[in-house]
């Protein structure tokens, strides 16, 4: 997304278009596996983010197309008409083909061609009045590629959007042809309701949405199925004989968006020890602790439901309190605020807000020499 924004400049339009066109196909191919198996929870969270992002890109692209259209209007007009006619022609030729292809599209990246679709619609409306110049040539092409009729048309349309880029056009054409039929079918998926007057069906729109989503921000694609929340493992090393040093507390706290004091308090209460923070921001814990043990405690602080790794018996140990993970949407994107001595955790992604138990350190048994305790 961030990369696309700088491309907003009109001078860079062409590049952007190229990039979009190239990325779309691979994205579409990748989108197939993810689309058919939507995990409701993950997708909702991702969709929330994605909803925001998608339209912005669409707008940008709309603008881009509009600008491009203004400049290249004259050049575009002929092309646009061609598109329209192409669509009609292929439909006539290959109704059977298109009919078969559309149902298979399901997983589809129809959304991939979204930007293009928008522009197409505009152009159609504006330019449908003017007569097509190169109809014959297009028809020839179409006849040549009858077998792939619907998909080819879409690709042609895409190409036409970049009228100035002949070389690129050639490349683009080659790519789709070279690619297997699957993406082609995908492309044609966006067609059915565009070319005909029938209303679009829900699944079509849904698949279109997801593919557009993934095309707009590929970051979601890789992580959408399993959004991993990763934290660097705590680095623990021994200091002397009886103390452990937790070196990257501050880093971990930053990653979790929590006050180090809160985290440290929890650690001490859970592990039944005491300690201090040294000058370098490292936490010195009294007692011998291994990385795995501290990691377990941190896990419970975050609230990922895990049973103790030690457990030989099959007891499910309920995660006591969860200070990071949102209970409603499982997102880790939460903030902890203190109001009137009560901690509230508000989720950034779903907006839920709930109070969180205060950390209580339990009974501390007498350990070590009593005489020392009395002195202190």
């Amino acid at each position: 997304m961030s990369a696309e924004e700088p491309l907003f400049d009109p001078s860079l339009k062409k590049r952007k278009k190229k990039a979009v066109a190239f990325t779309e196909d691979p994205l579409g191919a990748e989108a197939d596996p993810t689309a058919p198996a939507p995990e409701t929870i993950d997708n909702t969270t991702t969709s929330g983010e994605a909803v925001d992002l998608g339209p912005t890109t669409a707008h940008e692209q709309m603008k881009m197309n509009g600008e491009g259209g203004d400049e290249d209007f004259k050049a575009m007009f002929g092309d646009l008409k061609k598109k329209k006619k192409k669509k009609e022609i292929p439909m006539d030729f290959g109704d059977g083909d298109s009919g078969t292809s559309t149902p298979t599209i399901i997983g589809a990246a129809p959304a991939i061609t979204e930007d293009l679709d928008f522009s197409d619609i505009k152009k159609k409306k504006k330019k449908s009045k003017k007569a097509a110049l190169d109809m014959e040539a297009f028809e020839k092409e179409l006849s040549g590629s009858k077998s792939k009729s619907a998909a080819d048309d879409d690709e042609d349309v895409e190409i036409e959007h970049n009228p100035n880029l002949d070389i690129d056009d050639a490349d683009l054409e080659n790519d789709p042809f070279a690619q297997p039929d699957v993406p082609v079918g995908v492309d044609s998926g966006s067609e059915p309701w565009l070319s005909s007057d029938r209303d679009y069906v829900y699944p079509e729109l849904l698949s279109r949405f997801y593919s557009l989503l993934h095309a707009a921000n590929p970051a979601l694609l890789s992580s959408s199925s399993q959004k991993r929340y990763t934290i660097a493992p705590p680095s623990i090393h021994r200091e002397g004989n009886k103390r452990s040093v937790f070196a990257n507390v501050t880093d971990i706290c930053k990653k979790m968006h929590r006050q180090p004091e809160h985290v440290i308090q929890f650690l001490f209460a859970e592990m039944g020890t005491t300690g201090s923070v040294d000058g370098a921001g490292r936490l010195v814990i009294k007692g011998r602790f291994q990385q795995k043990q501290v990691e377990n405690v941190l896990r419970r602080y975050i609230g990922v439901s895990t049973s103790l790794s030690i457990s030989p018996c099959k007891i499910y140990i309920p995660p006591p309190v969860e200070y990071v993970a949102c209970k409603t949407c499982k997102s880790m994107d939460t903030l902890l605020t203190k109001e009137n001595r009560i901690f509230f955790m508000s989720c950034e992604s779903c907006g839920s807000r709930r109070s969180v138990n205060a950390i209580k350190s339990g009974f501390q048994a007498q350990v070590g020499k009593r005489s020392k305790n009395r002195a202190a």
């Binding site: 009886k242 209460a269 859970e270 592990m271 039944g272 020890t273 007692g287 011998r288 602790f289 043990q293 501290v294 377990n296 405690v297 103790l308 030690i310 457990s311 030989p312 018996c313 007891i315 499910y316 140990i317 309920p318 006591p320 339990g362 009974f363 501390q364 048994a365 350990v367 070590g368």
Partner: protein, 112 residues
């Protein structure tokens, strides 16, 4: 009026009774099982927040016999009576309690 007043006394009493019973057996009162490090590889396990209807002395005796460890009953100012056992007996305690009819949800196991 007088009759109503007399009647009104009863509901209050019932409420108090109800509240009292709820607090004793409520799930908000957890049984905390904690661990504490001693010197070397030694550890202590403490059990805190045992519901009133259980006799801590008898429970301690049962624990000691079952887990083959020693232990004591510690009187704490804030926490009340706390059972203290030698060694890491957390999971054993948890399974023992659940086997003897205490709900899992009321047991909290702390520690690393």
């Amino acid at each position: 009026m007088s009759v109503q007043n007399l009647n009104s006394v009863d509901p209050f009493a019932e409420e108090e009774i109800l509240q009292g019973t709820e607090n004793v057996g409520s799930s908000s009162e957890y049984i905390h099982i904690r661990i504490q490090q001693r010197n070397g590889r030694k550890t202590l396990t403490t059990l805190q927040g045992l519901p009133k209807q259980y006799d801590p002395k008898k429970l301690l005796k049962a624990f000691k016999k079952e887990f083959a460890c020693n232990g004591t009953l510690v009187d704490d100012d804030k926490m009340g009576q706390v059972i203290q056992l030698q060694g890491d007996q957390r999971l054993k305690i948890a399974s023992f309690l659940t086997d003897n009819g205490i709900e899992k949800a009321t047991i909290k196991v702390h520690g690393f």
